[in-house]
Symmetry: C2
Subunit: 416 residues, 2 copies
């Protein structure tokens, strides 16, 4: 215990030695409070600017023609100033496993700027990667400031990730569980429960205090669960799991291919950006780029073209494989929701329910976080869909193999 | 993989060797289906007879005078025929850790009969201990029948526990997570996700197919979360955690004391039953015995006497310390809900919300299952109370120390 380093009054030190859990609780409520306010404020700023950028692009679509150039510029920025933070989410996960030097704070402004550029010029990407990196690197600055030890630093990184995730999606409980389960596949440790939940809840409170709202999703009809429905949900879960493998492998392959043919890193987003811009021009629609929230919302209500998810997989794999900044999760929501929507052509479950199941299950498969995804569905869609979503997420998790989208995740335990 | 033992066609064996997760999924859907139907049916029968017994007692309260004699008879039954299954829940947990001989099936009828006697004659006890033991011992009979290996047997026991819990409370997701997290404090393993969730969902479906319903609880008002409310919830969580220690220690002490002074085991429920029967006569009310559902429901709506939880702790500790059969959980719900209700005299949170938080948090502290309890609250009360309940359950878990009500739980990891 490190109470003495802060020179607390002697009677308090005695009290805390006797009741270490009280000290633990107060200490982490305080630290998580600081993390929550910082990360929640950053998320609020990020969400507002992302919204602004998306609206600007949608009313000035000619800007998409400049996606290759924009990608090249961000590529140069990272090449010359961001080498130490380029690994992004994987750097965070690595540091939870094997603590090394403090994560440079520049990670936060770089990834924020890079993501806004991606969305302004029409790449297909997400935002949670950005939120996690802002959260993790911001939180980690407290390590030196407060003189934290290695185990406390690990908790701090988990708190930062939980805060970033919880506040950017407005789902504090899912954010906390995500922070706890993301770094180790197949196991969830309880000793960081308080840091994760406190930081996530405080960050969400902060974002809401800035008057920044979140998208509301709704599953119109959830039928009473029956045996055939359990089996349909299981089948859908298997498809969602396979889809997350396809997405992960494709992104990985495209990244590896571009690395092989283009030695100078900034050229990769130049080429990738050109392909995406051309595809948008050829398709004649912007529904597959950016976050794609309008299409996600539609997928809960009506039948969409059954190939929507394929186009989104392709464009996102190219965008992210070419090292544009952003994240995988909102595209995974899009891919999952439209795949679920497409499954409603063959499975006798309501289209909105399948969309909701896909929304979280493809994400669960790709990130190996089935519990966080199930809880996220409860927070976003309500409790009624619970068993359907749990089945889909767990089976997607088992079917998605041992490689997810985060290369630095470790295998704690085999999946079956 | 043991596909060949069932002599599947060669092409299927090849397929399953190539895709072991498909085999794993199909195998456990099937096994969990059987477990679910058996345990769900047993739960339905148990719930209906428990209801009948409770109603009969309430309209013939003179029967409570015979509680000592009834306790003596059940004590003799266990003394002469039930020595091997007397350890109850702890025997199940022990077998998950260190598989030994198959759990005798007689555990199920004995605990069912013993619990009905407890409730008919007016002991203060629960029902989930009974559900877990029916579930676990029923499931374990399949071990020999299907020729399962040790790891599969472990999964089977987890499935049985999940099915028992999920079907008796009508909360399939909480049941599954409870089965996964109860045997090891501080850690949750993912490899049994499918057996646990499938068994719990199938069991709940079965109980509902038998037209057996569950109590509906409702938290009338959940205010928007704010910083002061987070701190109130944390304070309440600490009190709930301490309460679960008091309950656990008192039950333990009374049990140890009776063991010391009464060598012949059946005499213990005779004495304990006499004390409880006298207490009911002195108090002039039956609200503190049995399951106490009416008082639990009331605690969500209006202010109750602030000492309700103390009387319930005392009567339950005597009933269970004297080896009456039943369980701790419904009394823990009662104790938590009335303690939460009492806290509304000092904390400015709505009385129903505090009752709901206590309902699950005292239970979370006593059994070391904070995630199952949080999910249970979502399933029973809806999503709105989520962050309040999560805070209360997690802090109760951290404050409840390393000894819970199940002696055979192992410490996987320190709590802080």
């Amino acid at each position: 215990m490190s109470a003495s380093r802060f020179r607390l009054p002697a009677f308090l030190v005695d009290f805390f030695w006797k009741f270490p859990h009280v000290f633990f609780l107060l200490k982490w409520l305080l630290i998580s409070g600081i993390v929550g306010v910082l990360v929640g404020s950053a998320s609020a700023f990020f969400l507002v600017s992302l919204d602004w950028v998306t609206n600007w692009r949608e009313s000035h679509v000619w800007i998409i023609a400049f996606l290759p150039v924009a990608g090249f510029c961000v590529g140069c920025l990272y090449y010359y100033f961001g080498k130490t933070v380029e690994a992004g989410n994987n750097l965070l996960l690595d540091n939870i496993h094997r603590p090394s030097g403090i994560i440079p704070f520049r990670m936060a402004p770089l990834v924020l700027f890079g993501t806004l550029v991606t969305h302004l010029f029409g790449g297909s990407a997400g935002r949670e990667g950005t939120a996690l990196q802002i959260g993790g690197s911001t939180a980690d600055q407290l390590t030196k400031l407060l003189g934290l030890r290695p185990r406390d630093r690990k908790f701090l990184l988990i708190a930062g990730i939980a805060a970033g995730f919880g506040s950017v999606f407005g789902t504090p409980m899912a954010g906390a569980v995500f922070g706890l389960e993301v770094f180790l596949v197949g196991s969830l440790r309880y000793n960081a429960l308080i840091p994760a939940f406190a930081a996530s809840i405080f960050a969400d409170l902060t974002t809401k205090a800035w008057q920044v709202g979140h998208t509301h999703y709704q599953i119109p009809i959830v039928p009473e669960l029956t045996l055939p429905f359990v089996l349909y949900a299981a089948g859908a879960g298997a498809v969602f799991g396979l889809c997350s493998i396809v997405f992960g492998e494709l992104t990985h392959e495209i990244g590896a291919y571009l690395k092989r043919i283009l030695a100078f890193a900034p050229l990769r987003p130049l080429v990738g950006g050109a392909v995406v811009a051309l595809a948008v021009w050829a398709l004649g629609t912007t529904k597959y780029i950016g976050l794609g929230i309008p299409t996600i919302l539609e997928s809960f209500q009506t039948h969409l073209p059954p190939y929507d998810f394929l186009i989104k997989i392709l464009l996102t794999a190219i965008t992210l494989g070419a090292s544009f900044k952003g994240g995988e999760v909102t595209p995974l929501f899009f891919i999952g929701a439209t795949l679920g929507n497409a499954l409603s052509y063959v499975l006798p479950l309501p289209v909105g329910l399948l969309a909701g199941m896909g929304f979280v299950a493809v994400f669960a498969g790709a990130t190996n976080t089935p519990l966080a995804c199930t809880i996220m569905a409860l927070e976003l869609f309500g409790v009624a869909c619970g068993p359907y979503v749990a089945i889909a997420c767990i089976i997607a998790y088992v079917f998605s193999g041992h490689r997810g989208i985060y290369g630095s995740q470790r295998i704690g335990q085999s999946k079956h």
